[in-house]
Symmetry: C2
Subunit: 332 residues, 2 copies
Amino acid sequence: MKIGILGATGAVGRQMIKCLEESDLNVEELRLFASASSQGKTISFNRNDIEIKDANDNNLQGLDYVLGAVSNELSKKYYELIKKTGAVYVDNSSAFRSDKDVPLVVPEINGIDALKHKGIIANPNCSTIISLMAVAPINSLSRISSMVVTTFQAVSGAGNKGIEELEKQIEQIRNNEKTDPEVFVKQIAYNCVAQIGSYLDNDYTSEEMKMQNEGRKILHLDELLVSCTCVRVPVYRSHSISIRVLCQEELDLDKVKEAIACFPGVKLFEDELPTPLDSSDQNQVFVGRIRKDLTDPKGICLWCCGDQIRKGAAYNAVEIIEYLEKHKKGAL
Amino acid sequence: MKIGILGATGAVGRQMIKCLEESDLNVEELRLFASASSQGKTISFNRNDIEIKDANDNNLQGLDYVLGAVSNELSKKYYELIKKTGAVYVDNSSAFRSDKDVPLVVPEINGIDALKHKGIIANPNCSTIISLMAVAPINSLSRISSMVVTTFQAVSGAGNKGIEELEKQIEQIRNNEKTDPEVFVKQIAYNCVAQIGSYLDNDYTSEEMKMQNEGRKILHLDELLVSCTCVRVPVYRSHSISIRVLCQEELDLDKVKEAIACFPGVKLFEDELPTPLDSSDQNQVFVGRIRKDLTDPKGICLWCCGDQIRKGAAYNAVEIIEYLEKHKKGAL
């Protein structure tokens, strides 16, 4: 199998390389693409140094899959080239997520949608993936009608520059220097910033609306309602999410816990508390603090943590390829 | 007026001294009390050094008010002494908050309850005060039936030792040393810890249930339902809270903003984003991100930040004395 990665030097691109190394996929050839400033440099894959190249028509020829970890703008540009090559494009940007002809896939939840692809599959938003991994098992017991969600998002969700900004500000404060927010709208060190993405007409941000829009598509729940508040916190890695789900019926808490414990890719925490630090560099989504909602008998409250670079991005994308390969020969 | 402070050397006690200095109260004499290890040391009040003493029967005589910033256990012990002196005890512990004979007061919301005191008034939980300051104006437009709440609580909520633990862990990580959680159940540096207080039978923590129990008493809403998730975050000071309130009627968003803007002690943020850092060392509660709940037309979502040592504790306690003094002569 021949795979290419667009944006191979970014936080998600580098993790895609690591997830491919860890996967059972038989990768005969890996091609790494990045911007001009990185071209000519090498990155190791399975102990071989791979030179970073330009993603032009020529270099994209002959690949089976391309994993995209670039901006919406670049993703659109490269997709025009990829679709001429016959490769399947698994895109981590949000450029194609709402496109009716593009499946939006979390393999454990709606892997089957991936099989209907027309050359491109979208990888969902990181907080959405992590939240849905926690609530999909509940949805299988009783349809979810609405969610009230508050996220605690790590700085690496903004890429390497997010990590650098937190590191820099921690040092500046240590040295009694003034901090200068650039990546985040306010100082992120020792602070919480309740604005991720840009404001829309309804006063929610673009990031907050992904939870409802993408949640509807992934769960096949066209009328799902979600009120989301996205907050950046001074955590390096892994997003945490406080969720109140409302179902069609009242559920037994033990059955909810059982469904979560049995769901692939999810780890139930009953006595211990999951934290973003524990879930960092893990593929599993950690779910804990499961309890009855006190405001509505049909509600469940929970707290989940997941590595947004792994399950929230790179690992989910690699899993999509694994799913396609597994079901290639009609093995469904 | 003669005032005493129990626990004068702690984070809240020290802030009480500062709030008294800033207030218009005519404090003729301030007596500071703390444990044996601090007795004999001095703390400055209005440029006078005041010696810290033992809160015994003798030293408590002749005071008009005593402000308490000690543990539940010590609060109960000292109240037995204070009630014999005739002083009014304003207690920041949770020991008496659920007592029917003890008013639980946020002066801007239910100051009038303080006038019915029988020698003791309880200061509410910090997150509860900050949340209620944001939602009380909404409750005045249409009665609140329920709230779904997620808190982002600063380490200083656990006192000076919480601050020291975050500082210590940041240094340990900087030096590639192992961290050792003592005050919080998990590492707090670069992490979020969704457990504050002890677990109760319903799987909520003692801290989480305060929002419903104290909210009912302060707002005089016996049937208020609250599902709360309390999370400790690596912020030094000021708690932030993500709230979804559900009212009896659907409300106009402009009227909600107007009510919040007009409410004493609250600052409305319309275009700018309030953060815990901005609200630190401020008496006002900052409220922003006000928008319609997308899951229910009768719901409102908002984000608020407030200094839990000031409005969440010391300032609220001093305001209670100010309220009592103002209404002493039947000036209501």
